[in-house]
């Protein structure tokens, strides 16, 4: 169904134009944009549903024709997977954006925003289906630019501007690496099917480039700096799309580049990726739990989850290299499962956070509280998402963590003795990251969602019908992707076959045991829910006669709202234990010599950024300032440059002979 795919991309392009043209008429946009994205989703589904023998080629005309660039597109199982994911996420987030953004509130026309939104979606689709290096790069650049403009919707604010710039600059640095990668890999021809086998010494450098380029987009730890800045700055539906779809493109790219280089790669890459993954999952969780900003916390949690996905990929690569097929299958499988699951739950969380922030007008966790009493439904969604992301049964996060641990068990059991240690470290790391992430979300759910509102001013805030439906869809999706996990595994089997170069039937057979246990787990989840329901009835009967009163609180006489445990005090024991990693700036303010009012606040800092990147940048800046003295302003000096150049060249020419 090549035509469906082309039509899907075309619709997105048309949608972009449409939103530009009707930029100033929100009423038309309100109909047109959901329509175009729904059509794109439908067409994408059609394209995936009827692949021509699993994949197809086509040539689309793009770029200067004289460069002889016939740009191929292809839909293989890996692409199909991401295609559906991206289209679904774009559809959901666009719906949310339509529902929550009010053109009347700020008078800017929304057309430009939706233009970039369509471009972003379209470019992600193009990346996924691109079967040509040039097309891939074009789409990748478009994705970066369009997401930059989406982040900068409220560019009047300085922090939004800075965040956007940081994002743009870092993605461009990533693109430099990708340019190198695709050009070198495309030496024989830019089309991917022309890629020949790369000699190992080159392959390792190339994979490093790919890792930096795609890692930059995925936001794994040494390259994560943009992520916690950009997500809070962007409007919520954009941060949701970025934190799910956009960073998944990094995963896609990494898998794709792995496929190109697979035969010549050394096993060390598996370890490197696992180390990166562990680093970003543990550090991401650490930073997440010490944040004071709701969206920053979620952003750091994305870093953590990207780390988990990277661990999965690393396991897959290691598995391939030690010829442990099951490990490879499970590693990649866990990575893919977690990509879906993370997208669903992080989408839910970000969108809910958007609702909360929009209603409460602050992202500061210390000021939020008792949301359950103000917006119960949103609170429910948030707790649901938190459960999912903490990997608690019966939701989908549990399934992917289960697969991850299962895969590491396979590694532990493998005949290679050292693998026991390697994968034990992985188990410990993942579990540690999981524990920290749980703490982070306990912090939000416990002190922000539950309890009393911290100020009297907070008002109840009902959700819009459409927002309810969209969030409901995601909520249900979190549950369904857990319940249907066996089907999901079966659906991604062709991808696993592709990634590990294994026959489909062998994939099917190798995964049989895992699928059975997954099936039992699913059964257990159902039992859990069933038992919960039944016992809940018993319990309700049991506690039917109940009264409501004030919190006892050990008989404390006058508890006030301000006395509740705050988010940062909740995690304080941990931040104290790990204070070298969780350096906090604290600031105290008092107003006069005899202070009657004092303020104390702490702020978690990103160790890597503050201690490495910023000093490095400052050093670089000094260096550049020294260089600027070359342009001194004196004509005589400039003439000396010319003469010296001439002399040096003449002398060099003498030696050249």
């Amino acid at each position: 169904m090549i035509h469906a795919l082309m039509a899907c991309i075309g619709i997105l392009g048309l949608g972009a134009l449409f939103s530009l043209i009707f930029s100033h008429s929100p009423r038309i946009l309100r109909i047109g944009i959901p329509l175009s994205l729904s059509m794109a989703l439908g067409l994408g589904l059609m394209a995936v549903a009827h692949p021509h023998k699993g994949c197809f080629y086509s040539k689309i005309p793009l770029g200067p024709s004289a460069f002889h660039a016939c740009l191929e597109i292809k839909l293989d199982p890996l692409s199909s997977f991401f295609l559906i994911l991206i289209l679904f996420l774009a559809w959901i987030t666009a719906g949310f954006g339509m529902a929550t953004m009010h053109p009347s509130e700020d008078k800017r026309p929304m057309g430009m925003h939706w233009f970039w939104f369509h471009i972003l979606t379209g470019s992600m689709i193009l990346i996924i289906v691109a079967w040509n290096g040039l097309l891939f790069l074009v789409a990748w650049e478009l994705m970066s630019i369009s997401s930059f403009f989406l982040i900068g919707l409220e560019h009047e604010k300085k922090e939004v501007r800075n965040a956007g710039l940081l994002y743009l600059i870092l993605s461009h640095i990533g693109i430099a690496f990708l340019l190198f990668f695709f050009i070198v890999i495309g030496k024989g021809g830019l089309d991917f099917h022309l890629i020949s086998q790369i000699p190992p010494h080159q392959a390792n450098i190339l994979f490093l480039c790919a890792l930096i380029g795609f890692g930059m987009k995925a936001g794994v730890v040494p390259f994560h700096v943009w992520l916690p800045e950009a997500h809070p700055a962007a409007p919520s539906h954009i941060s949701a799309l970025m934190s799910t779809g956009l960073i998944s493109m990094g995963i896609y790219g990494l898998m794709r580049s792995f496929l190109f280089l697979e035969p010549s790669l050394s096993i060390d890459w598996g370890f490197v990726i696992m180390i990166l993954g562990m680093g970003s999952s543990i550090l991401g969780a650490f930073w997440a739990l010490s944040q004071r900003d709701l969206k920053r916390l979620l952003a750091y949690s994305s870093i953590e989850n990207m780390g988990l996905i990277f661990i999965g990929i690393g396991m897959g690569i290691t598995g391939l290299k030690i010829h442990n097929e099951l490990l490879a299958l499970l590693g990649f499988g866990a990575a893919l499962l977690h990509t879906i699951n993370h997208s669903l739950m992080k989408g839910l969380l970000f969108l809910t956070a958007g609702v909360i922030v929009h209603a409460q007008k602050t992202r500061n966790l210390e000021q939020l509280g008792g949301l359950n009493q103000l917006m119960p439904l949103a609170s429910f969604f948030f707790i649901w998402g938190s459960m999912a992301i903490c990997g608690l049964p019966p939701l989908n996060g549990f399934i992917s963590e289960f697969s991850l641990f299962w895969a590491s068990w396979v590694g532990i059991q493998s005949s290679h003795p050292d693998m026991f240690l390697v994968f034990s470290v992985v188990v410990g790391g993942v579990a540690f990251a999981g524990g920290l992430a749980t703490l982070a979300f306990l912090k939000v759910s416990g002190t922000v969602i539950l309890g009393h509102p911290r100020t009297e001013k907070s008002k109840p805030h009902p959700l819009k019908q459409s927002v309810k439906i969209l969030l409901g869809i995601l909520t249900l999706a979190c549950l369904l992707s857990s319940i249907l996990s066996v089907q999901l595994i079966r659906a991604i089997q062709p991808i696993l076959g592709l990634l590990t170069q294994t026959q489909p039937i062998r994939v099917h057979n190798s995964l049989q045991v895992f699928k059975i246990s997954l099936f039992i787990v699913t059964g257990l989840n159902v039992i859990l829910m069933g038992a919960l329901a039944i016992l809940m009835l018993v319990y309700l009967y049991n506690t039917a006669h109940s009264t409501r009163t004030r919190t006892w609180d050990c008989g404390y006489d006058q508890p006030t709202r301000r006395m509740q445990y705050t988010p940062s005090s909740l995690v304080q024991p941990l931040t104290r234990i790990f204070h070298p990693f969780l350096k906090q700036y604290s600031r105290m303010e008092y107003q006069s010599v005899f202070p009657n009012k004092m303020e104390f606040s702490t702020q978690a800092i990103d160790y890597l950024k503050e201690k490495i990147y910023i000093p490095m940048m400052n050093y670089f800046q000094q260096w550049i300032n020294h260089g600027k003295k070359l342009q001194h302003g004196r004509l005589q000096l400039y003439l000396i440059y010319v003469t010296l150049t001439l002399l040096i060249l003449l002398i060099w020419n003498g030696m050249y002979r």
């Binding site: 707790i383 240690l421 540690f432 306990l442 009393h452 246990s517 506690t543």
Partner: protein
């Protein structure tokens, strides 16, 4: 037959708590509560009227049930020395850990739901400690699985017989020590937490239940006794080198449970509660034991 372990847990879990109390009392030279005092307490609590803070929400209501359901599910997957569990499949040990995490998650949420600063304090401590114990727990269970060559927990634990004992004595000892520390930590036992003190500021687990009363408290107490049983049965299954699924197993279980209960009681009456800032070191001790065990296992295979 597969349900014996499960039924025993349901029936005798509160009794295990009583054993601990009895030991502590006799060490202190008191007579102590009756053997079945825990049961009477539960039934009395069940008959009381419940009282809810107006800060609380559905979380608070659902937590007792989740606690009970999750621990029951775990028990369904847990062998008891020789007796196999009702459900067993590769990877069940992962599910066990996550079910325990689910319990903890909701307990902490319920504590925070009341908006009380005391309970917030307890929740904070519980949350931080559990985030530290979780990786250790994972490592211990995976090491056990490695020793027993199966990700199916019951299958792995069945391997802990004489043969394995004679082969891997050191690592089994180390792991048994590690899991005992974990048992004390997870079940709010003495060097970590003092469930019987009158000072709320020093408590961890109990302070979270300050606002829970009546039937809710009963459910919660029952769930925590089940949790204690869970850890004890894991410990017994490791330590006891004789596995048989016949009635003879009953003897081993009784001896084992009695031993565990008594030893917990002994620890409780001989040790003072650790300073809170020392508790992570206590957990680190468990981690170090596990690490040594793992290195031992590695050197054995490599």
């Amino acid at each position: 037959m597969n349900l014996i372990a499960f039924l025993m847990a349901i029936l005798f879990a509160p009794l295990l708590v009583s054993i601990i109390y009895k030991t502590k009392a006799s060490m202190a030279g008191r007579k102590g509560p009756k053997w079945f005092q825990s049961y009477w307490d539960l039934s009395k609590l069940m008959r009381k009227q419940s009282l809810y803070s107006n800060a609380t929400s559905w979380i608070f209501r659902v937590t007792p049930v989740i606690n009970v359901v999750a621990s029951l599910l775990v028990l369904l997957m847990l062998p008891l020395n020789g007796w196999p569990p009702a459900i067993a499949f590769p990877g069940d040990l992962i599910v066990i850990i996550f079910l325990l995490a689910l319990m903890r998650f909701f307990t902490i949420l319920a504590a925070l739901d009341t908006g009380s600063s005391f309970e917030g304090m307890g929740a904070s401590r519980e949350a931080v400690l559990s985030s530290l114990t979780e990786p250790v727990f994972f490592l211990i269970l995976f090491s056990l699985a490695k020793l027993g060559h199966s990700l199916e927990f019951s299958k792995a634990l069945l391997q802990f017989n004489m043969h394995l004992w004679s082969q891997d004595t050191t690592s089994i000892f180390l792991l048994a020590g590690a899991i005992f520390i974990l048992l004390l930590t997870e079940n709010a036992r003495m060097p970590v937490d003092d469930p019987t003190t009158h000072l709320e500021l020093t408590m961890i687990h109990e302070v979270m239940l300050l606002d829970t009363g009546g039937p809710d408290l009963a459910w919660m107490e029952y769930a925590s006794s089940l949790k204690l049983w869970i850890f004890c049965s894991i410990w017994i299954s490791i330590v006891c080198p004789i596995k048989s699924s016949g009635w003879i197993n009953l003897g081993w279980v009784i001896i084992g449970m009695g031993l565990v209960g008594v030893s917990i009681g002994l620890v409780e009456s001989s040790m003072a509660r650790l300073k809170l800032s020392r508790v992570p070191l206590f957990i680190a001790g468990s981690f170090v034991l596990t690490l040594f065990a793992m290195i031992h296992i590695w050197s054995a295979i490599g």
